[in-house]
Structure formats: C-alpha cells, structure tokens
Subunit: 270 residues, 3 copies
C-alpha cells in the first residue's frame, strides 16, 4: 500500500521544516509582503521567513521563474517556497503546490514554475483545492497561498489540500541539449549580466570555445573563467554561479553595452 502510494506520489515523504522563502513582484515600499508574512505566522508561529526577492519586475512571470529556481536549487530539503507573480489574480487560473527537489513551491499556475520544473527533473504538480471561507478578489497571495505555505511549513500533508495534476502551465523555454549548437538568453540580472539556457555540462573544453551573439551583430567571445581574465569594460562569456553560460562585461552592463535582451540567440563554436 505504501509502495503504491509512493509510485503515484514520490513527493509524499518530504518532511517539512519551518523555513518559508518568499518571491514576488510586490516591491518593498508597501506592506504587501508583510501581509503575506503575517498570514504565514498565524498558521505556523515558528516559521523562519526568508526573502528571495520582491523586486521581480511587475508581472514578469518569466523573470520570477528564473529567480525562484535559484532558491529551489539552494535551500535544504523540506523548505517551502511561496512565489507570487500573479497578474491573473481574480480569474479562474489554478493555484499549485509543486513538490520538487525535496521541497515545496506554492504559486499560481501561470508559468512561474517553469524554470524550476525544467532544471529539477521529477517535479510533481498538484492543484490546490483548499480555499479559506472568505477571501479577496485581488490578493490571493495573502488570502490563499500564504496560509497554505504556513500549513506546509507546519507539517500538514499535501493530500488534504490538493489533487494531483499533470499539466501545469510551462513556458516554452528549456535547457539547451548536449547536441545543440545554439541557445538563448533567458534572464538579464540587475547588473546587466545575461544568463543563457546553455549549461556548463553541454560545453566542450573552455579554451576552444567561441560564443556568437546573433541579432544586431555577430560578436565572437572566448569563454573565460572569471571577470579578471579580461580588462575592465571588456565583454566576456563565462560559466555563471548558476552553472549556466553567461555573457558579462567586466565592471559594466552586458545588457546595455551589447544590447542584449531575453530571447536573443547565442551560437556556440568550438
């Protein structure tokens, strides 16, 4: 019986710990984030709350997806991640609990789980069916998702809150394959570094590699190990801290200086 249950739901035996991270596009000037934290504390008094980012650009679900994956990648098993970039609040879009990398993600079903889903195989999606007796039409992050994050951190089981689904909404971005010779820019960070979907594992030996940026111009870049391997102001390609190929400018903004944007193609030549 327990075997059968595990086959249906390998995420079941995750033991929660009372760490809850928060990712949103709510900014830090108003009390929206604190309102979510208040609801988590109401359910799980001992929760330790850790902000990932509330500076996701407004309604930029893809950006939120990339930021969220970094948290899921780093935190220990049993952590709960609350992620709210939710332009569809008040519509009938679904809400999710995703069991992934031995952790829980609570978020709207609008693509926000995409990059976490792609980078951490074996994720299992559940539609949240629990709702409070009364809740607003405009702030499900506070009224529905935050209490659920508190329940998970408090040790409540997924089964009572959800039903399994197999069709979470995912954006059409994927890690590049080992046989690919091109990829694309998936994220521009606040410093103007451009992260691609090309992982270090897929690349041939560093010294032999050339990176071509297509679009406004073709610019071949050699792959370097650190920023210090080029002069100040010079562009470079390197393996960033997320294990993905990054385009950067030492002491500068690659996005601005090389006119890079999310979606730009990157070609690899060895």
């Amino acid at each position: 019986m327990s075997l059968a249950r595990h086959r249906k739901n390998p995420a079941a035996p995750i033991t929660a710990r009372p760490i809850v991270t928060l990712t949103s596009d709510f900014g830090l000037r108003d009390a929206y984030v604190a309102s979510m934290k208040a609801q988590i504390c109401r359910i799980c008094d001992r929760a330790r709350l850790i902000d990932v980012s509330h500076g996701v650009p407004a309604q930029d679900i893809l950006c939120g997806s990339i930021v969220l994956e970094r948290a899921v990648d780093g935190f220990p098993a049993g952590t709960t991640h609350l992620a709210v970039v939710d332009p569809g609040v008040g519509t009938d879009r679904r809400l999710l609990i995703v069991a992934v990398n031995r952790q829980f993600v609570v978020c709207p079903d609008n693509g926000l789980i995409t990059w976490t889903w792609r980078m951490h195989p074996g994720a299992i999606a559940h539609e949240l069916i629990w709702r409070p007796a009364k809740y607003s039409a405009t702030f499900h992050g506070r009224d529905v998702l935050a209490p659920v994050a508190g329940m998970l951190a408090d040790g409540q089981s997924l089964e009572t809150l959800t039903r399994p689904i197999d069709d979470p909404i995912l954006f059409d971005i994927t890690p590049a394959c080992a046989t690919d010779t091109s990829g694309q820019i998936i994220h521009i960070d606040q410093f103007g570094n451009a992260t691609s979907n090309i992982s270090a594992r897929m690349l041939p030996a560093e010294s032999k590699l050339q990176v071509q940026l297509r679009g406004k111009r073709v610019r071949p870049l050699r792959l370097k190990r650190t920023y210090w391997d080029v002069a100040p102001g010079k562009p470079l390609a390197l393996i960033g801290s997320s294990g993905l190929l990054e385009i950067a400018v030492r002491d500068g903004s690659a996005a601005r200086e090389l006119k890079l944007a999310v979606g730009d193609l990157i070609n690899i030549k060895s």
Copy 2:
C-alpha cells in the same frame, strides 16, 4: 480588583509573542535598520524580526501610518510593531506604546498611529516614560524605541515602562461614514494605485455604483471586482485588499495617468 484593572486597562492581558515587525523611512542602503534590530536582539535574543517596509518616503508620517495599519491588521495577537518615521527626533515630542488589536505598537507620538487608531477601535495609548541611561539626540529609534520593542517581545509589562494617556496626536483623516457620499484618497501605493477612506461596508451594491474623481476633472468609474474586468490601460474602481475602495489602472499607474494625489475627493453615486 482584577476586574477594576481590566476596566481601566483592557490591554493589560495581551500575552506577548517574540515577533517584532519594523516599519520606517530609513531605506535599505545604510545600516540604520540593522542598528535597531541589533538592539532588539540584545534584549530579546529569540525575537523573530519581520520587515514591513523601510521605503516609507522620508518623513512622510501619513504614508507610514497607512503602511503600519496593514501590519497591525494582519499579524497575530501578541505581536510588537516598531514604527519609526520621526522627523521630530531630538525635540520633546512624546514616545508611545499603543495597545491595539491585541498587539503593541511602539512609535513616536507624531500622528504615525493615526490610521491604526481609526481602523481598530478600542486602542489604548501609553506614553513611554522609560529611557536608557544614555542615548543619542538623533536616533531614538535605535536607542529608545528598539530596546522597548525588545522588552515587550520578551514579555515585560507595559506598566513598568509607561503611563496611560488619552490624547495621542492623530491626523485629521477618518474612515468615511455610512451616510457619506464622498471620501478622499489617503494613500498612493508604489504601483500608483490610489486607496480611499471608503470601506466596502459603506458601499451600495457594486453594479450600481459610480465613482467620481473631483478636481482636475470629473471622471465616473464603475466599480469592478478585479483588474481583469477592464481592458489593459483602462481605469477602474475596485475594493482593494485592505477592504477600501481603490482607484487603479489595469497594468498601469492610476496616480500618474489620472493625476491623483493624497487628499483628492472621491464622490459616490449609486
């Protein structure tokens, strides 16, 4: 005896829990907020510290008052809220501990408690008489208010620190009455949404309602349930997450596009 005491001070039996929230206009670039947190930790080592906002515009006590109320509304009984927007630091303005909504607020007596006081009837104000042996002239948030927040979180009783008063300084903004047909804008959030002092309880049925913005122009708006009920870029009125009537622009800034400011009149026609 205990009855008499309760009649004089209904706030007495609040049982503190070691959650302290922080609201200020100190920003996040320097160490001012951390200096307050350090003093709280010195008094109450197990305190769990939760930032509400440190992005209140400099010296904007009214804005701080609206943000603070959201925290008092959400957190569980026994929470202590430290709020410091304090342009009068170094003068002889009083300091307060207010028992409200089964929680404590520690703040200067300069109007910062106003919106919390208006929205949560039964608040009781106390003047803080405790002072440390030595403290600076320019940072009472760190030297006086933060240690007091730590003491409350640690379970110390109000009585030893304060004397009751009945005249805290309050701004002249109040929730609109059920018989009012007009109200005003009391807050512009970071996204440009304009919150009014008109609560959902005071409004007639939604579909019949028109909202008029007076001033630079008269613009009638129908009351909607969510942002999705209008096209992108279009203005709407809705009940915001704080239960108050809000003016918003879908995917835009109502403050900028409708030229709204705090104090603007709003008329209701059913």
Copy 3:
C-alpha cells in the same frame, strides 16, 4: 596551556550564538542574497538571518566597510557577520575570519574589514584555509563564505578553519586623533548626510566649535545638537548616531547641496 592559548588568541573564548547578519553589494532584485542564506541554513538550521544592507554600491568596498562597522558595533557578543563586496572573486585574494568586539566577521581580504578594525581595537585576523570540495569561480560568497558563517553560528571553532595572520589589507583611513584639527569625510549615506572620521570624544565644547569644509569653498558651520536647531534647508554639523561628526542639511541632502564627497577635508576651529 589554556593561558598560552589565550595569549596567542584572545578571540578563542567567544561563544557563538546563531545570529548571522549579511552585508553585500548584491542588490535585492535577484536571488544572490537568498543563495547565501540557503547555504547558511544548510549548515545551521536554527540560524537567525538579519540583513544589514545589500544596497552597498557595486564594488564600493570602502562604503561596505563603513556599513559593516555599524553592525559590528550594535550586535551582541557571539554574532557572526557575513560581508561580501568582492570584486576580486576568482583571483587569489585571501578570505578572512576576524574576531572583533566579541563577534566574528567573515569577508574577503580586500579592505572590507578596515573601519571595523579601526573602531574596535583588539581585533584578530585569521586567514580562512577551509574550502569546499567544489566551488564556483564567481560566487565565493555563496560557496565558501556563507557555509563558513553557518559553521561559526553553529559553534564550530575558528582553529579548524583558519590560520592566524597579522597583515589584513586595510585602507588608509583612520579615526582622527585627539590632537588633530582636521579630518575627512568617510561616508555619504543614502540621505546625503556626510559622516567624518572625527569622533565626539575628540571635540571641544559644542557651542564653541566651528567646522570648515575645504575644497570648492570654505563654509563655517556651528555644531548643533539636533536637526531642529536650524531652519529647514539649512546646513549644520552635529554628532551623528555613530558618534562621529556629521555634516547634514535639515530636510535635504548635504552631499548634493554642499557638493560633498568621500575624502573631502574638514577643519575644526574652537
């Protein structure tokens, strides 16, 4: 034997507590700070994490040094401070654990410890020799320093991680001496207040003091006790909350209005 050990290393008997503060130039939009917090939580599950600032201007080690000192000044004994402004990441610059003011600072050896070292005599520097089995070339804050902060917070001893050194890199800024009649501006805060290296202890009686700003112009300022001692918009000198002489403009920015910058000379005349 224990005496000999104490003579060699007076920092040994610091008893850690599970408070870890974080200071960096990583900003708050991406997940870099959360990635460090994740590693701390992996090592020390009960760690309480407190942000000092992640708004240090990019690669501004001196600014980070001033901000960090405020945290070291305020927090209780046993606190661990993780500070990462690290333009040299990926080079062979050393990493440090500094025992100072009964606390630990974990940071790169690039001058970031300077102001803490100057203001808290008796600091002892240790070179971090511990390294994880595998770590990135671009994010030692996450891969090396954060785990070490977690180990210290968890009670692990310095000796197993480090070797003592006596030559940490220090910038050439020092507190002004009692016999000095001039000093310099060492920090501009986010409000435009200019902090000097002149401490209150070195100054003659307040009312007799004149402060001259040299450079673009000579402007004598009287020393005041609070901002309220001058009219709005007027400049003043006062003892700031860090105990150092500050130049400010009431309700304005001294840096902008008086054209002040880090390094500007300040003369004192009594």
